[in-house]
Amino acid sequence: MLARQKMPQQDPNVRRANFKEVALGFSKEQAIEEAKRCLQCKKPKCVEGCPVEVKIPDFISHVAKGDFDSAIKEIKTVNALPAICGRVCPQETQCEASCILKKKGEPVSIGRLERFVSDIELAKGVEKPQKPGSSGKKVAIVGSGPAGLTAAADLARMGHSVTIFEALHAAGGVLTYGIPEFRLPKDIVNSEVEYVKKLGVTILLDSVIGKIGTVDDLLLEFDAVFLGTGAGLPVFMNIDGENLNGVYSANEFLTRVNLMKSYRFPEYDTPVRKGKRVIVVGGGNVAMDSARCALRLGADEVTIVYRRGEEEMPARAEEIENAKEEGITFRLLTNPVRLLGDARNWVTHIECVNMYLCEPDGSGRCKPMPLAGSEHKIEADVVIIAIGTSPNPLVPRTTSGLEMSKHGTVVAKQNGQTTKKGVYAGGDAVTGAATVISAMGAGKIAARAIDDYLKTK
């Protein structure tokens, strides 16, 4: 069996001080070699593992022949955002997890090949897609994150007139404000957004639905509405000292760094506190992103504090590995108890307690319990809380007849249909914080359901 190609990366000692992309991408030769590893299974398991149903063996067979144009065309019939997916999808738990080669060794690098052909196309300039005949129906999409962009692209391809309402001043949702430049360059996001616009989608920025107009208002003007409002509300720990200066939600920290480009302060006006000793609380991708941003801003030491062990960390293995290579310290089985500050309200320490794991809880992971008497203080001048997010209530609160769960998520059927006629929802707004690709999958499914609904209207 051919060996899996290694992804060229920036050297950890160099990249820890810059915001340029860590992974550099396959060369043409590498891509072709990697594509040749694919067994072209008759019944491809990988496709079943893909939430947006990319015909993986088909596009890979084009790559193996060096026909990159056909490869990207194949992907784009179902996926409007391949350069993004190729970078941030957790392939190891999806398509690549189902790859037959995995049973004997390493799976085909499906994500990296997807990224490769997308980048080739972006470098050449994206072809203008063909627009279908107009259906005469209008759809409003709330939020321009992965769910909204995917639903918009599919609905536009079906001939509907689509308008996206985005609250922030830039499109992309979490792709823009959350995921850092070094993992997902904003030029890539912008190119994919441009592609969605070329499909005929209008994007209205600076438009906060729930404020500038309600969903009920939208229904007067549009035939259907899709809610892709995400899970943008930060969760705090509710412990003492969380309002000290220097304590950030990961959302705020990442929004300052990514959306507002505070890593280029004072060229860009938005400041962010550059800590010397930074503590990040949490074990997901957002925690890894925050830690690695803090390091790149010039911190001497960045420590991840997580209440369970490494195996329980929800972050992608690749991101944990990247963080370790860059010199991030991990203090596992450690949980914050309170934050301590000085007279001017600045954080100085975080007090933690050691944890141990007992029997599995509802999430299937072992429940962490505090070890009595193990309280200890760690010095910190910046603390970033990355323990999760919940859906933003702005839209649900202002929409009549929209049922919500007790967790604040929108109640929707499998196809995205909500309890309000003509209103569909998908992504984190429905599931709570999850992945980019699952949101895209939900956008795709909802687009089909909306199309069916519009045909009956």
Partner: protein
């Protein structure tokens, strides 16, 4: 979408008025709400309270004081220029109803957001007593407009150049001590002023509302930069406020958090002044 400046005026030294063409926001704006703006591509997002709105003309009026880089840069823009981003109307509208007698306190640039509330309280049938203050007579805002919408207007200046020589709180206290039945107090201005008003009204047990000017980024509840402690509970000024019960607000925390980026703000402002004035530092 261009957010064009339709009118710009220096009301008093360092304090400016701007009418922005923003029909969609003007259509929905209510007293008490705010906008977030970003001047240009490298700009920061700053919240400014809505001082007035005209649904027919489709304009939002804001009044701001040039204190740091962004507000100073904003003050250099002229009629016909455009602002890149203008987002709103954010926050909850002020609770306007007929309470009886309402005292509205505005300090410095805080007189601007007090005006649409005074007008709304008056229209709702209240007796409106407005107390407006400034450091000095030449910095006093909108006296005539306040007179138009109030039953009584009291003026204070820190230096005694106009009206009562002293602070707005002196008059608030005098009114309360006079035995007059006051049903509600609204105070908008610098945090020290709002804290002082809260301190004066508390012993009289008169419901007092303040509008908090925390640091914000998105203004839609996404980041939590604007967290304030109200009645020992953490709230987001952007979506839970900006108005809160003054007697429950932790003003010390508010002021500490407002000073969070002082070194960075100073650096950005100095660099901006250097660029504008062409110094060699």
């Amino acid at each position: 979408m261009p957010f064009t400046i339709l009118k710009k005026q220096e009301l008093v030294p360092t304090i400016y008025l701007m009418d922005i063409n923003a029909p969609r926001i003007a259509k929905k704006a209510q007293p008490g709400q705010f906008v977030i703006l970003r001047i240009d591509e490298t700009g920061e997002r700053i919240p400014l309270t809505i001082a007035d709105f005209d649904r027919k003309k489709g304009t939002i009026t804001m009044i701001f004081q040039a204190v740091g880089k962004t507000t100073t840069k904003l003050s250099t823009l002229k009629t016909g220029d455009a602002i890149l981003d203008f987002i709103g109307p954010l926050g909850n509208p002020a609770h306007i109803e007929n309470y009886g007698t309402v005292i509205l306190v505005g300090g410095g640039v805080g007189v601007a957001p007090i005006f649409p509330q005074a007008r709304a309280f008056k229209e709702a049938g209240n007796k409106v007593i407005s107390i407006i203050g400034a450091r000095s007579a030449n910095l006093l805002l909108w006296e005539e407009r306040m007179i138009e919408v109030s039953d009584e207007v009291q003026i204070t200046t820190d230096d005694g150049t106009k009206g009562h020589h002293g602070f707005v709180t002196d008059i608030v206290k005098k009114k309360l001590e006079s035995g007059m039945k006051i049903d509600r107090v609204i105070a908008i201005g610098p945090p020290v002023m709002m804290r002082a008003v809260a301190g004066v009204t508390k012993p009289f047990n008169v419901k007092t509302v303040v509008s908090l000017n925390s640091i914000m980024v998105d203004g839609t509840g996404m980041c939590g930069a604007c967290r304030v402690l109200v009645g020992n509970e953490t709230k987001f000024a952007c979506v839970d406020g900006p108005e809160f019960d003054a007697h429950l607000v932790d003003f010390t925390l508010l002021m500490n958090r407002l000073s969070m980026y002082q070194p960075e703000e100073k650096l950005a402002f100095e660099k901006y002044k250097c660029e504008r004035e062409g110094c060699t530092c």
